[in-house]
C-alpha cells in the first residue's frame, strides 16, 4: 500500500525520525563523557604499570626528562592548591560582599546594569589576565617585595582571584536573590534592622548556595591554565612558596604537550595521568556543587 505523503503514517515516520535525531544529539554528552573517561583510562594505563599510584601521588619530585626520572605530583598539586587558595582569598570575600550589595542594597536599576557587566567581565579571556599578571602585577609586587621572582605563584593567584570574582559574585547573587521574601519580611516583623536581616537571615539561608559558588570557583581555579602558564613559571616549588616560581598541574600538561617528544615516548602517558587527576578533581567538585545548588533550589522554589 502506498503511504500518503501527508497522511498519518508518513507523519509518524517523520516524527519518529526527528525524535531519534534529537535523541542522538542529546546523547552526544554521554558519548563525550565516555570517550573522555575511556581515553584517560586507556592512555594512563601504561603509566600506572610503570609508576605506582602511590608513588605518583606522594612523591615530591616531578622530573620526567632528567635521569633518574621521577613522576611525583605532590609538589605540583601543592603548588596548584596554594595558587587556588590565594585566588579564593581574594575572590570569596570580595565576591560575596559584592553579591550582598547587588542583591540587598543596590536599587533595581543598578542591579540590572551591573549584573550584565559582571557577565561581560566573566567573559574576558584568561590569557588576558595572564598577561596582566606577568607584565603589570609582577612588576608591581617586585616594587613592594624585591625578593619576588619574575615568575611567581603570588601574582598568578591574585590575578586569578580577580578572574573568578565575577563568577563568585554572579552565582552568590543568584542564590541571595532567590531567598524568599517571606523570610526577610518575617525578620523585619520581629524588629530586625536591615543589617541583621542580611547577616542573620539572608546569608545563612543562602549559605549552601554560596558554598556551591565557592566549590565551583575552586574547580575553575584548579583547571585554569593560561594565567599559571604565563605568570607562575615552570619549576615546581617544594615547599610551596608563592614568592617563587611554581608549576601547576595545568602548566605541566601544557609543558608536555607543547614539548618536542616522540609520539611513542613514555611522557605522553604521564600527560594522561595528570589529565585524569585534573579531570577527577574538577569533576568531584563540580558534581558536589551541582547537587548543593539543586538542593538549595528545591528548598526554596
Amino acid at each position: 500500500m502506498k503511504v500518503p505523503r501527508h497522511g498519518p503514517r508518513g507523519r509518524y515516520v517523520k516524527e519518529g525520525l526527528i525524535r531519534g535525531l534529537l535523541f542522538a544529539c542529546g546523547s552526544a554528552a554521554v558519548v563525550i563523557t565516555l570517550v573522555t573517561v575511556g581515553t584517560f583510562i586507556l592512555g594512563s594505563l601504561p603509566f600506572f604499570q610503570k609508576v605506582s599510584l602511590w608513588e605518583f601521588l606522594t612523591s615530591i619530585r616531578w622530573a620526567p626528562l632528567t635521569i633518574p626520572q621521577s613522576y611525583g605530583v605532590l609538589a605540583l598539586m601543592a603548588d596548584t592548591l596554594v595558587i587556588t587558595a590565594i585566588a579564593l582569598i581574594v575572590a570569596l570575600p570580595l565576591g560575596i560582599l559584592s553579591a550582598v550589595f547587588l542583591s540587598e542594597y543596590a536599587s533595581e536599576r543598578t542591579r540590572r546594569t551591573l549584573k550584565p557587566l559582571l557577565e561581560i567581565l566573566a567573559g574576558i579571556p584568561t590569557v588576558v589576565y595572564g598577561f596582566f599578571a606577568l607584565r603589570f602585577i609582577t612588576p608591581l609586587l617586585q616594587g613592594i617585595f624585591p625578593e619576588i621572582g619574575f615568575w611567581n605563584g603570588l601574582s598568578a593567584g591574585l590575578v586569578m582571584g580577580f578572574m573568578i570574582l565575577p563568577l563568585v559574585a554572579s552565582l552568590s547573587e543568584d542564590v541571595l536573590y532567590a531567598v524568599p521574601r517571606s523570610l526577610r519580611e518575617g525578620a523585619y516583623a520581629l524588629g530586625a534592622t536591615k543589617f541583621e536581616v542580611v547577616t542573620r537571615v539572608v546569608i545563612p539561608a543562602a549559605f549552601s548556595g554560596i558554598g556551591a559558588a565557592f566549590i565551583l570557583a575552586m574547580s575553575r581555579a584548579i583547571g585554569e591554565t593560561m594565567i599559571v602558564a604565563l605568570a607562575a613559571g615552570r619549576t615546581p616549588a617544594w615547599p610551596p612558596d608563592p614568592t617563587q616560581p611554581m608549576m601547576a598541574l595545568t602548566t605541566t600538561i601544557v609543558n608536555i604537550a607543547t614539548g618536542d617528544h616522540e609520539a611513542t615516548a613514555f611522557i605522553w602517558s604521564a600527560l594522561f595521568a595528570i589529565g585524569l587527576l585534573l579531570f577527577v578533581m574538577t569533576l568531584l567538585l563540580n558534581v558536589a556543587s551541582y547537587f548543593i545548588v539543586r538542593r538549595f533550589r528545591e528548598r526554596y522554589e
Binding site: R11, L22, F23, C25, G26, A29, V30, I32, T36, F40, G43, P93, L94, G95, L97, S98, V100, F101, L102, L117, I120, G123, I124, P125, V127, V128, Y129, G130, F131, R135, F136, F162, L165, T193, K194, F195, E196, T199, L216, S219, R220, I222, G223, E224, T225, M226, L230, I253, V254, A257, A263, F272, G275, L278, F279, T282, L283, L285, N286, Y290
Partner: protein, 480 residues
C-alpha cells in the same frame, strides 16, 4: 536599649553596606585599571609602526670589551634590515648600520628609538633628525686580521682595501694601517673594530680619536664616523592599527609583526566549531526540553551536561590531541582544533539553548497540541520561533567564549611557527589568544606592546559580539 547602642546598631548596618559597595567597586576598578594599562601599553605600537613604515627593522647587539681591567658590555642598535625603496633607504641607510641618535636621544636599546619617535614634538608627520654609523664595509672598507709575529693567538686589524670617498679615507686613513683603538676602546678583531668605533661614537658626542699604526709609527687621527639626516616618519594611530591587524606574524621584529594569521586562524577554528557544536547543541536542548520524559536517563544526561561544562578546557585539549590529532589522523590542524573546541562549547551551548526554550511558556505548546499539531510541528512552528532570539544570544555568547579560548588550542595549535595565512582545514594554525600568549612570553623589547595591542583587538571583537548579544536579547525578548 541605650541611645548609644541604638546608634551603633544603625551605623553598623550603614558600615556594612559601605563595605559591600566598596568591594564591588574594588573588583570593577581593578579590572578597569588593568584594561587601561593595557591600552596605554599598546600606544607604543604607533611609534613602532612608524619606524617600520619608514623601512627599518631594528635589532639589539652588544660589544663585549675591556676598558682597563674591566669587562663591560656596550649595547647598540643595528639596522637588521632596510626595506628596498623605503624612505630610510633613500636617506642612505643600509643594512648593518648602527643607529646612534634619534631626535637628540642616544640609542642604546631598541625601545629608545620608539620612545624618541613617540616623544618627538610635532604632529602626525615628523621629520626626525637621526645620526648613524654606516656599516663596517662602507665605513672602513675591507679589514683583515694579521697574526702578530712572536705572540701566538693575538691578531692585529689591518685595512686591506679602502673604498674611495668613505669616511675612513676622508679621515686620512690609508691601506695597510693597523687599527689600534677608538677612544679608550682597544681594537682586537675585524668585526670588533667597527663595533668599537660605534660605541666610541655613541659615547662621545663629536668626532672620536682613532689610534693607528703606520710604518711602525703610532698616529692619532680625529675621525667622524657618524652621519646625519632627517627621516620622515608618520605617527598615524589608525594606520598603525590597520597595518598591525593586516600583516603577517614576524617572529624576529615586533615592529613588523601582525595579527593577520591569528585573526584568520580564529575565524576558521570558530567556524568549524560552530558547524559542529551549534546543530548538536540545539538538537540536544530540544530533545531534553521538548521530548525527553522525566526519567533516570534524562536525569543522568542533565548531570553529565552540567558537569561537562565545568571540565577544564585543557582536558579537552588532551582529548583533542589524542583522539582527533593522533587517532583520527587530523594532526594539529584547524579541523582538529575546531572539533576539539566544539567538545568544550557543546555543553555550554546546550545549557544556553535550554534556557532559551524554557522561557517559552507551556500554554504555547498546549495551544498547538489542542489544534492537532504533532510534537515536531509544535516545536518547529510555535516553540522555536519564540525561542530563537534567546538561542541566537546563546550562540553569540558561546562564540565569544570560543574566540577567547587558549588553553585547549595551545595543545592543538602550532602557534610558534605560523607566519602565513592558513588556506586549508588541514593546515596548522594559530589563534589570537595563542598569539598573545606567544608574544607575552618573548623577552625582547616590543613584544609586550604588540601583545597588549592584540589584547585590545581581541577585547574589541568580544565587546562587539557581547553588545550584539545584549542588543538582541533586549530587542526580541518576549514578555509573557
Amino acid at each position: 536599649m541605650s541611645e548609644a547602642k541604638r546608634a551603633w546598631r544603625r551605623s553598623k548596618g550603614a558600615l556594612f553596606a559601605l563595605v559591600a559597595a566598596v568591594s564591588l567597586g574594588l573588583g570593577l576598578v581593578v579590572v578597569a585599571v588593568l584594561l587601561i594599562t593595557t591600552g596605554l601599553n599598546s600606544w607604543r605600537l604607533v611609534a613602532m609602526r612608524a619606524t617600520a613604515d619608514a623601512g627599518l627593522s631594528l635589532s639589539l647587539r652588544s660589544l663585549q670589551a675591556s676598558t682597563g681591567s674591566q669587562q663591560a658590555y656596550y649595547p647598540y642598535v643595528v639596522l637588521a634590515q632596510v626595506a628596498s625603496n623605503s624612505r630610510a633607504e633613500k636617506l642612505g641607510l643600509r643594512q648593518g648600520d648602527a643607529l646612534i641618535r634619534v631626535a637628540g636621544q642616544g640609542i642604546t636599546r631598541v625601545s629608545a628609538v620608539w620612545e624618541a619617535v613617540e616623544q618627538a614634538p610635532g604632529g602626525r608627520d615628523l621629520r626626525l633628525p637621526i645620526a648613524w654609523v654606516p656599516n663596517s664595509r662602507q665605513l672602513l672598507g675591507e679589514l683583515r686580521a694579521e697574526a702578530i709575529p712572536n705572540t701566538p693567538g693575538r691578531f692585529r686589524v689591518v685595512i686591506s682595501t679602502l673604498p674611495p670617498g668613505s669616511p675612513a679615507e676622508q679621515a686620512g686613513l690609508q691601506t695597510g694601517d693597523v687599527l689600534l683603538s677608538a677612544n679608550d676602546l682597544s681594537i682586537m678583531g675585524t668585526r670588533q673594530a667597527w663595533e668599537a668605533i660605534v660605541i666610541a661614537t655613541q659615547r662621545a658626542s663629536g668626532p672620536i680619536t682613532l689610534q693607528v699604526e703606520r710604518d711602525s709609527q703610532i698616529l692619532t687621527l680625529p675621525f667622524t664616523a657618524q652621519q646625519q639626516g632627517e627621516l620622515t616618519v608618520q605617527r598615524a594611530a589608525w594606520r598603525a592599527l590597520w597595518a598591525f591587524v593586516s600583516s603577517l606574524n614576524e617572529p624576529r621584529y615586533p615592529e613588523h609583526a601582525g595579527l593577520a594569521s591569528a585573526i584568520l586562524g580564529s575565524l576558521y577554528v570558530v567556524f568549524v566549531m560552530a558547524i559542529v557544536a551549534f546543530p548538536l547543541g540545539i538538537g540536544a536542548a530540544l530533545y531534553l526540553e521538548e521530548y525527553a520524559s522525566r526519567s533516570t536517563l534524562t536525569e543522568i544526561l542533565q548531570v553529565l551536561i552540567a558537569n561537562l561544562a565545568g571540565v577544564p578546557s585543557v582536558v579537552y585539549g588532551i582529548i583533542g590531541l589524542e583522539i582527533l590529532a593522533r587517532a583520527a589522523g587530523l594532526g594539529r590542524s584547524i579541523l582538529a582544533g575546531g572539533i576539539a573546541l566544539a567538545l568544550l562549547i557543546l555543553p555550554i551551548m546546550i545549557l544556553a539553548a535550554r534556557e532559551a526554550l524554557r522561557t517559552v511558556p507551556p500554554w504555547v505548546r498546549e495551544a498547538a497540541y489542542s489544534v492537532g499539531a504533532t510534537r515536531w510541528q509544535t516545536v518547529r512552528h510555535h516553540v522555536l520561533p519564540y525561542a530563537l532570539p534567546g538561542i541566537f544570544t546563546g550562540m553569540i555568547l558561546t562564540l565569544s567564549r570560543a574566540i577567547g579560548e587558549a588553553a585547549l588550542l595551545i595543545l592543538l595549535g602550532a602557534f610558534l611557527y605560523v607566519t602565513y595565512v592558513p588556506t586549508n582545514l588541514k593546515d596548522s594554525f594559530t589563534v589570537i589568544p595563542l598569539q598573545i600568549f606567544d608574544w607575552a612570553t618573548k623577552p625582547q623589547e616590543g613584544f609586550t606592546t604588540i601583545a597588549a595591542a592584540a589584547i585590545l583587538v581581541l577585547l574589541g571583537i568580544l565587546l562587539i559580539l557581547n553588545a550584539t548579544a545584549i542588543a538582541l536579547r533586549n530587542r526580541f525578548q518576549m514578555r509573557w
